[in-house]
């Protein structure tokens, strides 16, 4: 079973600052991390390999050279190897161009070792679009199974995978034929504390780097900014939720005001 996981390096949006003038993310203000959903995707590949007792896990990313860090991180979690597609020609890609470039990379990987399953995170936390996974599946003409909450069974003989996927009202159990592409939610697993041998392997690991020249028959008009029809109309920071009312006066006065408000809004005490 050859599982390939698509991963992205993202700024840690928990701490990132927004440039007040341009309304864009100030990427220098936060460390770059492995997109959290993708970390779960790698872990899921590791879990499947463990469950089956054998298998091979590759990861692939498109991004600038420092993205080798997240490939190493994936090796820590348990990936066997990693590929980085990096070239100026890919810069400025939207989800359409990104899924094109990644599908080219995946085709190249598949030539050396056929792929049975692709796993992506549900979405990247810097763009939150969730389009790249399905975009890849469409281009490779394999079934996309999005929002996976749990992988119930991988049947190598029957070449099927059974998963539980999130729907707007609850969940559904879906079976798909291999090869297919899953995108996973965080609930799909717990990231495990990586074993020491993986850490040592990752410290040593040098990812395979591909530039645009490593791909045959690539349509350059579909790459990078040129291949990206997305137009960003406007960016804005959503207004902060308004804070509550601020009470003034002495402590006694403030206490009285609070009690008045509470009595006024009886629902606080579940009183009708």
């Amino acid at each position: 079973m050859h599982i390939v996981v698509c991963i992205k390096q993202v700024p840690d949006t928990k701490i990132i600052k927004i440039n007040p003038k341009t309304n864009t993310l100030d990427r220098r203000s936060a460390p770059a991390i492995l997109n959290p959903y993708d970390a779960h995707a790698v872990q899921e590949a590791v879990n499947i390999k463990k469950e089956l007792g054998k298998g091979h896990i590759s990861v692939i990313s498109m991004g600038p050279p420092p993205a080798t860090d997240i490939i190493k991180k994936s090796v820590e979690i348990g990936a066997d190897e990693g590929y980085l597609i990096t070239d100026r020609a890919f810069a400025g890609a939207d989800t359409l161009a990104t899924s094109y470039a990644l599908s080219k990379g995946l085709e190249k990987i598949a030539k050396a070792r056929p792929i049975d399953m692709i796993i992506c995170g549900k979405q990247a936390i810097d763009g939150d679009t969730g389009q790249v996974g399905p975009g890849i599946a469409r281009r490779l003409d394999i079934p996309p199974v999005t929002n996976v909450l749990e992988v119930l069974e991988v049947n190598e003989k029957e070449r099927t995978v059974l998963v539980k996927r999130k729907t707007s009202g609850g969940y559904e159990i879906v079976q798909a034929e291999l090869p297919c592409l899953l995108t996973v939610e965080k609930e799909v697993n717990e990231i495990e504390y990586a074993p020491l041998p993986n850490m040592i392997k990752a410290a040593r690991y040098e990812p395979v780097i591909w530039t645009v020249n490593d791909f045959e028959g690539v349509d350059r008009t579909k790459l990078g900014l040129k291949g990206s029809p997305t137009v960003v109309g406007k960016m804005f920071t959503p207004p902060r939720p308004e804070g509550g009312k601020k009470l003034e006066g002495t402590a006694d006065e403030q206490v009285k005001q609070v009690i008045d408000i509470m009595l006024e809004r009886k629902e606080l005490f579940f009183v009708k």
Binding site: K49, K50, E192, Y193, A194, P195, L196, P197, M199, I200, A203, R204
Partner: protein
Amino acid sequence: MKSAMPEKFDVIVVGAGPAGTACAYTCAKNGLKVLQIERGEYPGSKNVMGGVLYRKQLEEIIPEFWKEAPLERPIVEQNFWLMDKNSVVKFGYKGLEWGEEPYNNFTVLRAKFDQWFAQKAVEQGSLLINETVVKECIVENGKVVGVRTDRPDGDVYADVVVLADGVNSLLAKQLGFRKELRPDEVALAVMEVINLPKEKINDRFNVNDNQGCTIEIFGDSTKGNLGTAFIYTNKDSINIGVGTTLSSMIKSKMKPYDLLDQLKNHPMVSPLLEGGESAEYLAHLIPEGGYNSVPKVVGNGVVVVGDAAQLVNAIHREGSNMAMASGRMAAEAIIKAKERNDFSEAGLSSYRDALYESFIIKDLQKYKDAAHTFEENPQYFQYYLPMLNKAMSEFFTVDGVPKKDKQKEMMKMLTGEKGKLNVIKDIYRAWKAVK
């Protein structure tokens, strides 16, 4: 997945502070197979230092490092402040020769610096693993043969384990190399990084873009506790901190962050910080026991370097340089041991010899009584320092009193109720402690 036989390295270095990295770098550069293990998210993520990095000891490891290391400012001015409640006596030295290559010392932010330094060791071939805690040394037949980490399949083996795990080295304690630190052997320091625009720093400290300034503050900065405070200029931030021995803090029932708060609000200090934005708050222990606290530093298959060996000269706030120098000396001993394939205590003993012949132990020996002298004789900070401030005030005040009478008055102030003889005794004692 089955776990294969754990790997064996020539050297495992525990900790990626200046001591550990200096050792890993030197070993790797000489072709040894090195694994460096750091518990932080990345080297330096939790490491704390006032911020003065000395040129000499790093230059001996990486020549001309200043051309590429993430340094803040070369220091061209160093000051001492003897501070009272509403006054301060200042002296210092500013020399522009320090602003040119090869420089004297620099301010640094450790989170950046340690990361860079560790990366240099990686470039030499050392393997670095972060977010991994070494729980204990693996000891077989009286010899350290590896370490046990907190990770699954977490054992890893080596001919030599280097303990560079900092001031509170649990590993050295587990091996019985040292005892629990006494409160008078460590200082607790707290510091803050305060962001301030470069232009403001340049104005307030009277320096140019590429010039830094340090201030060591005695007296009211520690409210009579044994210790010092400091203010150092970075590119566009200021490090301000205060540290005092645990024992004196216990005695005076003061909390370190209260001291820092008072310092920041001190009328002599607050104008320097005005408008600054607090960016980071850090606390750390400093080994201050000096010579008498240095533990056993060599055992079978193991050496202890840097703060873990308590190698800090508190009087001169030198620590990182001693850490680097000791790390390098340990590496040189390991390289020799490897040639002879003898990693026993005897085989590694050239580290101990080098350490004891170097400036490190010589300096620690020189000041071995200083801390005690000052701790047991609080009059230096509590009595003389305010007196000196008063005397200087008298000296500079123009009030029609003849200078001769003024000098008499000043002498009286300094000797005051203590009497001349006692003062002479105190001066002699202080001189003996630091001579």
